[in-house]
């Protein structure tokens, strides 16, 4: 007899919400495909709505070749990742939230590559930063996830501020905020005095987003995110946003020696450093993260050039990388999902149990290593051509590319051979193949790597060239072809494979050497980041504890002291001239009221019990209300009286919770004197201020206006009320929002003290 499985073990194979929501990226991909033939012919789709015209902020979208290339990559990986996640994340508690973030991120990313307005681009840019923070920290109950998320947010968010600064500087320099207007005005900006500042700000934005040295360290740490996220954000799309930015700004800022030198050096360093570090870790995902660093570095390096060759190399490698890297990430996620580990030391021989995944990984790694017949080979050829054609430091660029590529070849071998062919140190439990939703993405992307590798002319004409044309005005045609003949790039390609296999042979030795060398570095940016953050937090803690020490008395003291110093500084010299002894005149009742208020104040100051002090306060309030009444302001008197009453009730409620006054520690004499002095000075200041104001004739213009128009325009005779609900009703709307928010804040505070 069969016993049914216990319900806990039956985690569904895939969740329906994920499957259904993958329709969104598929739909967008389909739309882009519809537009594709027209874009190749040079047509451009553009729409524009005014949003905030006074800020030059328009909802302007524009689909050109570059936008199309990025859009296709984003929607295609978006579709596969969403499909993949519907299985990978199945059974998770917060699936709705996950897919919301995921698709939100995809839309923001599409927004970046399609917006034609610089401010709009910035808004989408920030949206990707925030969504990336939420996605990295998706498993928010883990400390590591939270810390990585914070790190990514601080670094990319900081870069975003630089980008905003760059945009504003660009505006000051007189540049249009519409990206498509730039082609004509590049020379004006490049000769402008602000050019270096603009360049550095934009570069900082791109460097932080695209994880260039020295801001690279957030990317490997971001691998704490669930694998579909790593594949989507940190391999295929978000980290490419910086690259996209550099491409878009190329016609405007590019081509100067500052641009070329900086980008080539930074890109080359990132590529080498990423590739070297990729040998270090045992975690497959971390290895992939470092290879992503290498790829981003290489892309930056090629964007440093100004020839069509090097820019074509960048666009080609962008595609090559997006295809193989997303496939590899997803496949590594499958391995992790099926076996429960992604540690190289524990994996081996998976080719038997996961043959289809193995096939996809084989295709992707072959493309990564750059074997002929694969798209990676085409990419590598054009990369060497591009590196040799750099204007600045062509030798450095070529050598950096060569070494980075060789290391990549070795890493590709490690990624494929160790888990699938090799034998793990421990005997592994039997493993099942991943479900189809998780296989489809790697398989299709691996296959595309082969198809594109066999027919590079088609890719070149339909994707790469339209993309390069949209940011490189010189319409020089560079065709990707399968075989160039025997030339220097081919020799370099062969050299890469040879060098790669040598590195693979000595990988254990190199890994050991590398790890000890990195440990010995005495100054690293991650270390600087950590100590900086620690110091910041510690000082913020000290500062807060000093200023916000929880004593209401202290807060009041500071507030009144600030008032006295800020106002007294200007006002005190005028006091002697103002201070006149008031002539006792007016109705007798006013004098009586004055005496009453004075007596009540006396009660407040000298009361021995809190209740009598509150009674005194109520007396002061009632006296003031009556004064309003006498001098013809019934509305204010009414409100004052009601507020007074309610305040008294509230205070007495709070009072019940306080310990009796006798039990409180006696205040020291010096403190009492200090408080008394401060109160006296504050009182003197405010009184003389009032007297000073009264000596200036009152401007009754506004009063006259309201008196004249209150009934005619607003059908009301009570001017105060008409002002509140009609003439200045927007202010009132804001005020009642504040009232409600303040009430909520107090309720939260009251509840917390009750719990604590």
């Amino acid at each position: 007899m069969k016993t049914p499985l216990p319900p806990i073990e039956r985690v569904p194979d895939c969740c329906r919400g994920g499957l259904v929501s993958s329709i969104l990226p598929l739909l967008l991909f389909g739309l882009l495909c519809l537009a594709w033939p027209r874009v190749v012919q040079g047509n451009i789709f553009a729409v524009q709505w005014a949003w905030v015209p006074s800020l030059d902020l328009d909802l302007a979208f524009r689909l050109d070749g570059l936008g199309l290339l990025f859009g296709l990559i984003i929607t295609m990986t978006g579709f596969f990742v969403s499909l993949y996640a519907s299985s990978y994340m199945a059974g998770h508690q917060q699936l709705g939230r996950f897919f919301f973030y995921l698709h939100g991120f995809m839309l923001a990313m599409l927004g970046i590559v399609l917006s034609d307005n610089l401010f709009l681009l910035f808004i989408f840019w920030e949206a990707t930063t925030i969504l990336s923070f939420l996605l990295i920290g998706f498993d928010h109950h883990k400390t590591a996830a939270r810390e990585s998320a914070r790190q990514a947010l601080l670094i990319t968010g900081g870069g975003g501020l630089f980008l905003l600064m760059g945009i504003l500087l660009l505006k000051i320099a007189g540049e249009s905020m519409t990206i498509s207007h730039w082609a004509a005005s590049g020379d004006m900006i490049r000769d402008h005095a602000l050019y270096p500042a603009v360049f550095i700000c934009i570069l900082m934005g791109a460097m932080t987003k695209s994880a260039q040295v020295p801001f690279h360290f957030w990317l490997p740490n971001a691998m704490t995110a669930p694998t579909p996220i790593s594949a989507f954000l940190h391999a295929a799309t978000m980290v490419k946003a910086g690259i996209y930015l550099l491409m878009r700004f190329h016609p405007l800022l590019g081509g100067t020696s500052l641009w070329m030198a900086t980008l080539v050096i930074i890109g080359g360093t990132t590529a080498l450093w990423g590739a070297i570090q990729a040998l270090g870790p045992c975690d497959l995902k971390r290895i992939l993260a470092y290879t992503t660093l290498m790829a981003l570095g290489v892309l930056t390096l090629f964007l440093g050039g100004r020839t069509v060759l090097s820019l074509t190399a960048a666009a080609t490698f962008l595609m090559v990388h997006a295809l193989y890297k997303a496939a590899l990430f997803l496949a590594v996620g499958s391995i992790d999902h099926q076996t429960g580990t992604r540690n190289l030391d524990h994996l081996g021989g998976l080719v038997k149990s996961m043959p289809l995944t193995a096939l996809a990984v084989a295709a992707a790694t072959m493309s990564m290593a750059g074997f002929p017949l694969f798209f990676g080979f085409i990419g590598k050829e054009i990369m060497y051509e591009g590196a040799l054609a750099e204007d600045m430091f062509p030798v450095f660029a070529t050598v950096a590319t060569l070494f980075a590529n060789s290391l990549m070849t070795a890493v590709a071998a490690i990624i494929f051979i160790t888990p699938f062919m090799g034998f793990g140190r421990q005997k592994m439990d039997p493993v099942k193949e991943a479900p189809w939703t998780m296989r489809l993405g790697p398989a299709v992307m691996g296959l595309l790597g082969i198809v594109f590798g066999i027919m590079p002319e088609w890719v070149s004409a339909h994707l790469i060239q339209p993309a390069v044309f949209s940011f490189q005005p010189d319409r020089e045609e560079i065709r990707l072809v399968f075989f160039h003949g025997i030339n220097l790039p081919l020799v370099l390609s062969i050299l890469t494979l040879t060098l790669g296999s040598v590195i693979y042979r000595y990988r254990t030795f190199l890994r050991h050497r590398m790890n000890t060398a990195i440990d010995r570095l005495w100054i690293t940016t991650p270390g600087l980041y950590q100590s900086g953050l620690d110091n910041f937090l510690r000082n913020a803690g000290i500062f807060t504890n000093t200023i916000q020490n929880g004593s209401l008395h202290f807060y009041l003291f500071i507030i009144i002291l600030t008032l006295v110093m800020a106002v007294g500084w200007v006002w005190l010299p005028h006091v002697p001239g103002i201070l006149i002894f008031p002539v006792i005149s007016g109705p007798l009742i006013a004098i009586g009221l004055f005496a009453f208020i004075l007596a009540s104040t006396g009660v407040v100051v000298f009361a021995k019990k809190r209740l009598s002090a509150i009674g005194g306060l109520g007396g002061v309030g009632a006296g003031v209300a009556l004064t309003f009444m006498i001098f013809g302001a019934p509305d204010i008197a009414l409100t004052q009286l009601l507020v007074e009453t309610l305040t008294l009730i509230f205070i007495s409620l709070v009072l019940l919770r306080l310990p009796p006054m006798d039990a409180v520690k006696k205040r020291s004499r010096s403190r009492t004197i200090r408080d008394a002095c401060l109160s006296l000075v504050a009182g003197l200041l405010l009184t003389t201020l009032m007297m000073g104001i009264l000596q200036v004739p009152l401007d009754r213009n506004l009063t006259a206006f309201f008196e004249a128009n209150s009934y005619i325009a607003a059908h009301g005779r009570n001017i105060v009320n008409v002002i509140l609900v009609d003439f200045r009703s927007l202010d009132t709307l804001g005020e009642i929002c504040v009232v409600v928010l303040a009430a909520w804040a107090s309720v939260t505070l009251i509840r917390r003290t009750k719990e604590g």
Binding site: V725, I736, K754
Partner: protein, 132 residues
């Protein structure tokens, strides 16, 4: 608080004060009063009720949660500004209707919104303090 005199008086007072609050709210356009004062008055009435009968009774009598009342008020006040938009005037411009003897305008709705928002705020703090 256990005081028979206060309790008996409160039963009478609370009702009177609430009716008076509505009166103050409605007369506000021409005479001293208005949404804010009316809300303070109603808040005082409920405070009295809470002191004599306890916060649970107040919750039962009010029926709606204070937060809901406050939010309804904010929404009403904001919505009172919408008709003006449809008539191509700035947001929150007062719009008036004359229909025979009836005379009605968006400022009244706005004032009602103010009343509910402030009352909701007062009630939420009051009940939180009382529910010790």
């Amino acid at each position: 608080m256990q005081s028979t005199i206060l309790q008996t008086a409160a039963h009478l007072m609370v009702g009177l004060m609430l009716v008076f609050a509505v009166y103050v709210l409605l007369r506000g356009h021409h005479e001293p009063g208005g949404g804010f004062s009316a809300a303070l008055l109603a808040g005082t009435a409920f405070a009295l009720f809470a002191i004599t009968e306890g916060p649970d009774q107040v919750r039962r009598a009010v029926r709606f949660r204070p937060g809901t009342i406050a939010m309804t008020g904010l929404a009403l006040a904001a919505m009172a500004g919408l008709p003006a938009l449809f008539m191509d005037k700035p947001f929150l411009t007062g719009i008036w209707w004359h229909q025979g003897p009836f005379f009605m305008g968006t400022p009244l709705i706005f004032d009602l919104g103010v009343f509910l928002a402030v009352l909701g705020a007062i009630l939420s703090v009051l009940l939180a303090l009382e529910e010790n």
